[in-house]
Symmetry: D2
Subunit: 142 residues, 4 copies
C-alpha cells in the first residue's frame, strides 16, 4: 500500500483523556483533518465548501495499535483505495513521526450526494479523474 498524502499533527491536550493517552475518538478527528488535506491537495476544497461535492460518511472504523500521548508528533497517511459509482473509500494510517511506529489504522466510506435531495449521485468525472491520476494503479474501481 502506497500512501502519497500525509499530514502532520501534534497531539493537543484536549485530545487526550484522564487515562493519560489520546482519547480513541480523537483519531476520527485526525482522520477528518487528513482527508481534508487530501481533498485540498487535489485542489477540490473550494467546490466542497460550496456544497458541490457534498458527501456523507456512511462507515468508519479504526484499529488502535499503540497509545499516543500529549505533545506527540504524528503523521497521518491517507489514500483513496476504492472508487464505486457514488462511493469512495479512504484508508488511513497514523504513525509516530520520530520512528514511524504504527499508532492506529482506519478507514471510511463516503457517498457522494446531491446537497438538496441528499440522494446518491455519481462521482463527478473530473473528481474521478483527479483521484485516478493521483492514486495510479493501486486504485480499485467498480
Amino acid at each position: 500500500m502506497v500512501f502519497k498524502c500525509s499530514t502532520e499533527l501534534r497531539v493537543r491536550l484536549p485530545e487526550t483523556d484522564a487515562m493519560g493517552v489520546v482519547f480513541h475518538g480523537s483519531f476520527f478527528t485526525y482522520f477528518d483533518v487528513a482527508r481534508m488535506d487530501y481533498v485540498r491537495n487535489l485542489g477540490l476544497i473550494p467546490r466542497y465548501l460550496t456544497g458541490e461535492g457534498t458527501n456523507l460518511i456512511v462507515h468508519t472504523s479504526a484499529d488502535f495499535r499503540a497509545p499516543a500521548r500529549f505533545e506527540d508528533l504524528l503523521v497521518v497517511r491517507t489514500r483513496i483505495s476504492k472508487l464505486g459509482r457514488s462511493s469512495l473509500t479512504f484508508e488511513l494510517r497514523v504513525e509516530q513521526k520520530h520512528d514511524g511506529s504504527l499508532v492506529a489504522e482506519g478507514g471510511s466510506v463516503h457517498v457522494m450526494i446531491d446537497p438538496k435531495t441528499r440522494r446518491p449521485v455519481p462521482i463527478p468525472d473530473d473528481l474521478r479523474q483527479a483521484i485516478r491520476a493521483f492514486e495510479g494503479s493501486a486504485l480499485a474501481e467498480s
Copy 2:
C-alpha cells in the same frame, strides 16, 4: 444570587485530559448545555432553532476553583443577571453534586441579532417578559 435553573452533568472521559482532570475548555461546553436548558425551560427552543432568537456570544469568562474528574456528577446553576436593549448576561456556577462544593464560575454576554443582517436587534418583548417573570427582582435591566 439566586439560581433558579440547574442542569446535572456527568463528566465524560473525552472531557478530561492527560492532567487527569476536566480540561478547562470543557467547562464552556457545560455552560452551553446549561444555557440551552435554561432557554428550553422557558419554552423558547423551537424559536431558537428556526433562527428567530439568533444570538451571538460576544464574551465569556470562567474562574476555576477546584478540579473535576472523570465520572464526577456536576450541577451547573444558571441565571440571567442582566438584560440590555439587545444583550443579555448569563452567570453560571458549577458545583460537585455530592457536597455542593464550588468547581467553577463563569459568565457570558450574548447579543440578539437579525439572522440575515447579523446586526443587533432589540430583545423581543415576549422573551424579555419571560426572563423577567422567571428571574424576578434580581434581574438588572438597562
Copy 3:
C-alpha cells in the same frame, strides 16, 4: 438482538458541525458514555476508576444511517455480545428517542490488561459472571 441497557443523550451544540448535523466522530463519544453507563449499571465503576479492570479499546467501527441534529434526544442501546479470554465486544445502536428510528450502529472490542505491564490478562471471574448474568443466553463466549 436484545439491548438491555440504554442511555439517553441530548445532542449538544459543540457535537454538531458546520454541515448542520452531528459530527460523525461525536458518536464515538456517545458510545463511550453508553459503555460507561453499562459498566456503572453492573456496579463496576469504582474498580474501573482505581485501575483494576483497566482495558484498552483495540477496535471500533460505526455505520451512520441517518443524520442527528442539535437538540435531538437520542437513545444509545448497549450490549456486550461476546466474551473472549481477555477481550469483550460491545454492540451499540443509536436511535431517535421520539420515533425509535435508527441513527447509527457501532461496535468496539476491548482487551483487559494489567495496568502496570499493559499485557492482556484474563477477564476476572466476577466480571465475567456479572456480564453473563446480565446478558443471558445471547452472549457468545469463547
Copy 4:
C-alpha cells in the same frame, strides 16, 4: 502590545458547530495550543511534561469579534504580559491569516504549583529569566 510568538491553525470540521461557525469554546483549545507553542518555543516543554513546571489555569476569558469558519487559516498571537510571584498572565489574539482581521481576543491566568501538594510555589528563577528575556520591557512584574 507586541506578540512575539504566533501559531498557525486551520479550522477543523469538529471545531465548528451547526450555526456554521467555529464553536466559541473551540477558541480555548486554540489558546491552549498557542500557549504550548509558546512554552515549547522557550525550550520548556520537557520539564513541563515531567511535572516540574505544573501549573493550574485559574481564570480565562475571551471576546469574540468576528466568526471564523471551517477551513479558515488562523493565526494565534501569544504573549505573557504579567509575572507575579507564583502566577503568570497570557494574552492571546486570534486573527484571520489572509487579512490580519481580528477574530477573538483572550487571556488566562495560571498559578505555578507543586505537583504533589498542589500548593502555589514561586515561579522558578530560570523560567522567570527566560520569559523576561523573551518578552523584554513590555512584561509587567510584581
